[in-house]
Symmetry: C2
Subunit: 333 residues, 2 copies
């Protein structure tokens, strides 16, 4: 009730007289977006789906918006941050237990021997991922990720990883929610990894994070206390055609807006765009070598090739980071 | 904005002067519950977790409540309604294509030969389930379930299946949401089946329905239009130890309240009750042979044995349907 009271008081303070005005006329909802086609496409879309009585009105419960994470909500260079986490963890474990230093994958990680780690279909990297992501409870894993976020810094930008998020996207998420949208992450990243920071960083609660996952087992420990144990077995890969499948499984409704940045998002964008009624499909094109990174068709991370062609052919909104974003990371232009 | 305006006007109409009053003093939130231990346990629990500044306060984003469906939110006798759907569908298909009538599982379903259907580890029933639940798109399946709900009637109660829901539970769901809870279904039933009616019947949107699922594949049809195709392969069984696993996977937070009715809910109740801080674990005990059904330890459907013992030993709230519910089904006592 106290919450309700606060809400009412806030509304009263905001001035009931303003209630007849258009939905987002008074404040600039997307200050980090430059005026241009991309921003206009977003504002037009949100305007029409929220206009009650209009031909394109979508009731709030159907205003589902899905966002990829790596390269769409936060950066992904020089390597996916979750892989960076695994490598940092391997180093931390080796420092704690020096007897590990001669063993794989510790030896190659400590030697920064990417060639060795990538050999044999990336066996070493997979070992590093499994070692740091499984064989522990879900609670223990969440604590480890939280500690890493608090101590690790990006190798070239020297920022906390949760400050490597895109300010324009944080504003967009907030704007969409203010207009009755429910915002979801639909990412190839691990669901248990992303849930540690998604709520604080993006305002997206754990139950709205869809991601890849491994097998988890319910156990009672020696004292009869239940826990959930992360097994060394992959279960669901939320990438490519897995994204619409994950959307169906976890959300059960087709989004009306989807935002990606790579070929791994192609099927999510197709599935979203093909629905009836108004739809908005968007792609971040990484064009800003100065403030962020510039890459697309030939990048091993976040390759954008087929989705760029299909997006252009189908009139999806291609966001040119350099031109469309006034600010990239929070706190600096 | 029109919504916001309506909300404000409704609040104004309700009288701002009432805002200082306790949260649920003015109206009876659970009219179909008789006064007694069970109702009091619910009111006490909700009162303390919503009391800001109190020792047991739980912030709204952590007020996760999970409900089993079969036997907890709606009835499950004489057989699970989803199985009844499959049998009804088999009969409908056989009527459409008479050449099927001699084949299994059609022949045994038409003959109501439960013995034949149950033989060989229930091979016939499984065939009936697979035939009616797979080999079609998710959209086609949802339409079929919707048509069935509109035409089928319960064999003994002669009601629509979506009117075989428990009125006290519908009130409880609504009450919890009014107190800032997010309500989820966590059921062994099929997720695609439940999502067809969960929003209208319980006020629970598709993205808050966790259930069993089969493999679904993303496809582009001949015209390049995407769809999702239900394959004849089970993927996730959301029952027993699968329930806390499903909660972790789909919700990512431990509930503070869980409600079940059978041994299939035991692990969900254990997991919920074992969390830190205030927790409420509840079990519907089917004790009302007159208005509903009376069954527990020896029932093949909704067997309640171990969970009843553990619930009593641990002080969980056992709801005695006959004593605690003033009304069972909507519209009659």
């Amino acid at each position: 009730m106290a919450m309700l009271r606060r809400t009412v008081l806030a509304l009263l303070a905001a001035g009931l007289s303003s209630l007849g005005a258009p939905a987002f006329a008074q404040t600039e909802p997307l200050p980090s977006w430059n005026d241009g086609k991309a921003k206009q496409a977003i504002l037009d879309f949100v305007g029409k789906v929220t206009q009650e009585g209009g031909p394109d009105f979508v009731p709030p419960e159907r205003r589902i918006a899905t966002f990829d994470n790596d390269g769409t909500l936060w950066a992904e260079q020089p390597v996916y941050f979750q892989l960076q986490f695994a490598l940092d963890e391997i180093r931390r474990l080796a420092a704690e237990k020096p007897e590990l230093k001669g063993k794989e994958p510790y030896r190659s990680v400590l030697a920064r021997d990417l060639k060795a780690l990538s050999a044999d279909h990336g066996k070493g990297l997979l070992q590093a991922m499994m070692t740091t992501h499984t064989g522990m409870t879900t609670d223990a894993f969440a604590n480890i990720v939280g500690n890493w976020l608090d101590t690790a810094r990006h190798p070239t930008k020297q920022r906390r990883y949760d400050e490597m998020v895109y300010q324009p996207q944080v504003e967009l998420l907030r704007f969409l929610r203010s207009q009755g949208f429910k915002t979801f992450i639909v990412s190839g990243g691990g669901v248990e990894f992303m849930r540690v920071f998604a709520e604080k960083t993006y305002g997206i609660p754990p139950e709205q994070v869809v991601g890849s996952s491994g097998v988890v087992t319910y156990r009672l420990d020696a004292s009869g206390r239940p826990d959930l144990f992360k097994q060394a077995k992959a279960e669901f890969i939320d990438d490519g055609p897995g994204k619409p499948v994950g959307i169906n499984r976890f959300i059960g409704r087709r989004p009306i807006l989807a935002f990606g940045n790579s070929d791994g998002d192609l099927q999510m964008l197709q599935y979203t765009a093909a629905g009836n009624g108004p739809r908005l499909a968007l792609i971040v094109h990484h064009t800003d070598a100065e403030r962020e990174w510039a890459y697309d068709r030939n990048s091993p991370i976040g390759k954008l090739d087929k989705a760029l062609d299909e997006g252009r052919a189908k009139g999806w909104t291609i966001v040119d980071m350099k031109a469309d974003w006034k600010t990239v990371f929070p706190g600096k232009p």
